[in-house]
Amino acid sequence: MIAVIDYGIGNVRSVLNAFEFIGAQAVLTCDPVELERADGLVLPGVGAFGEGMRRLDTRGLRAPLTRLARAGKPLLGICLGFQMLMRSSTEQGQAEGLALLDHAVVRLPVEARLPHIGWSRVKAAADAPPPKLLAGLDNELFYFVHSYGVVKPKQSIIAGLAAYGGCEIAALIEADNVFGTQFHPEKSGEAGLQMLRNFRSLCL
């Protein structure tokens, strides 16, 4: 069973639908007992970083999420959920994230229009092992919608990259059991569904 974390924000319905469509059992919950029992966790999200973190804190989710991730349970952050895995974000001032990964989220330093809304190719990072989530999916198109992100990523946990406005964006991270996608797999057609199948198989 996959637990989709309910913190009152975001397009959770689509994430649940996508798991259902691929035949995976997924539940929407913020109950720490359920999170503990789940084979994998998904932190979805759209919207503002500060608001997202506030809502996680209001529901007392920061401590259990951090603990379960550090204990090795597979965790997938999507879009804002991906950003909240990081140390901090400059969106609407400065806000602290879950700090499971030591990266900063910044406004994309591009001349091109923001938000970046649209389909971009995600390439496996050259200097890293082949991404588990992109098995069979290298150089496919995924749907992005964001103004902030992790840019100039150098560390080896960056598993997939996309480009927008001449800027290289961290599209996918894989750090042991902690995964994150800046794009929305649940909105990326068949490629996105396959990526979710890949995540699910890592949870079993």
Binding site: I9, G10, N11, V12, R13, S14, N17, A18, E20, F21, V46, G47, A48, E51, L80, Q92, R113, L114, P115, I117, G118, W119, S120, R121, L141, Y143, V145, H146, S147, H184, E186, K187, S188, G189, E190, G192, L193
Partner: protein
């Protein structure tokens, strides 16, 4: 051009197609059409309740829920979004974005509220533009009511208030299949720094090519060409060589 969007205008549960946003030729079932365009690899789907403003509420929430069970591309819900609670319901149903026109004209601060809670990317500010001499006036209620607002000034205000993108529908061209109001698109594009999506007027592939040559818009919303089976999504993408290769894949 980064996105090819299928636009489904809905009245009483049926996709309809009008002219100048009026009239009501019945096209088909919204879920079936959404599935059809999804299967053709459309980039996004826009579901617009065309009578919501008239009745002051939207009937699309249930339809969005249904569509999102089998359609895994971004879905925007428009028509009858009045409040932050409506946005919440739309997103809970599975929509990724809401398109809002009338409610923003009546209470522009709603834009800031939506952007601060759900993020700018969630808010598509919808502008219905009608030519008035050398300028354009913004309309509400599906092109029926003038607002007295200049489209370009209104576009700038919407950007400042936190809209994530602008959907600009030319009421004059909509449903005519006589081509886009390219001057309108170019004027709005020059006025703001957020993505702009053009809607209204595409009747043949050349109309997309003309728009693509003369603007750098981020997206285009297509209704007639798809609904009347005049083109497939792949053929539409192939008409946009700045973005897509000949197989319809993004370059």
């Amino acid at each position: 051009m980064q996105r090819l969007i299928a636009r489904l205008d809905i009245k009483n549960g049926i996709v309809i197609k009008g002219i100048h946003l009026e009239g009501q030729r019945r096209i088909g079932d919204p879920i079936e059409l959404a599935q059809k365009y999804y299967a053709q690899a459309v980039d996004e789907i826009l579901l617009m309740d065309s009578v919501a403003s008239l009745y002051g509420r939207s009937n699309l929430f249930h339809m969005i829920s249904e569509a999102c069970k089998t359609v895994f591309v971004p879905i925007t819900m428009g028509g009858g979004i009045r409040s932050i609670e409506d946005v919440e319901r739309a997103l809970a149903a599975g929509a990724d974005k809401v398109a809002v026109n009338t409610a923003l004209v009546n209470a522009p601060s709603l834009a800031e509220r939506i952007a601060s809670v759900y993020g700018s990317q969630c808010l598509v500010a919808s502008i219905e533009a009608k030519r008035k001499g050398e300028v354009w006036e913004a309309y509400i209620s599906n092109g029926r009511e003038p607002t007295g607002r200049d489209v370009i000034e209104w576009a700038r205000e919407l950007e400042l208030r936190g809209a994530g993108e602008l959907l600009v529908t030319s009421v004059d061209q909509e449903g005519t299949q006589r081509g886009f109001d390219i001057e309108l698109c170019a004027a709005v594009e020059a006025a703001v720094r957020i993505p702009v999506v053009a809607s209204g007027g595409a009747g043949k592939l050349q109309h997309l090519q003309q728009l693509d040559e003369r603007t750098e818009l981020q997206g285009v919303a297509i209704a007639s060409l798809l609904h009347y089976d005049k083109a497939t999504v792949a053929e539409l993408k192939a008409a946009l060589p700045s973005t897509y290769d000949r197989q319809g894949a993004v370059k």
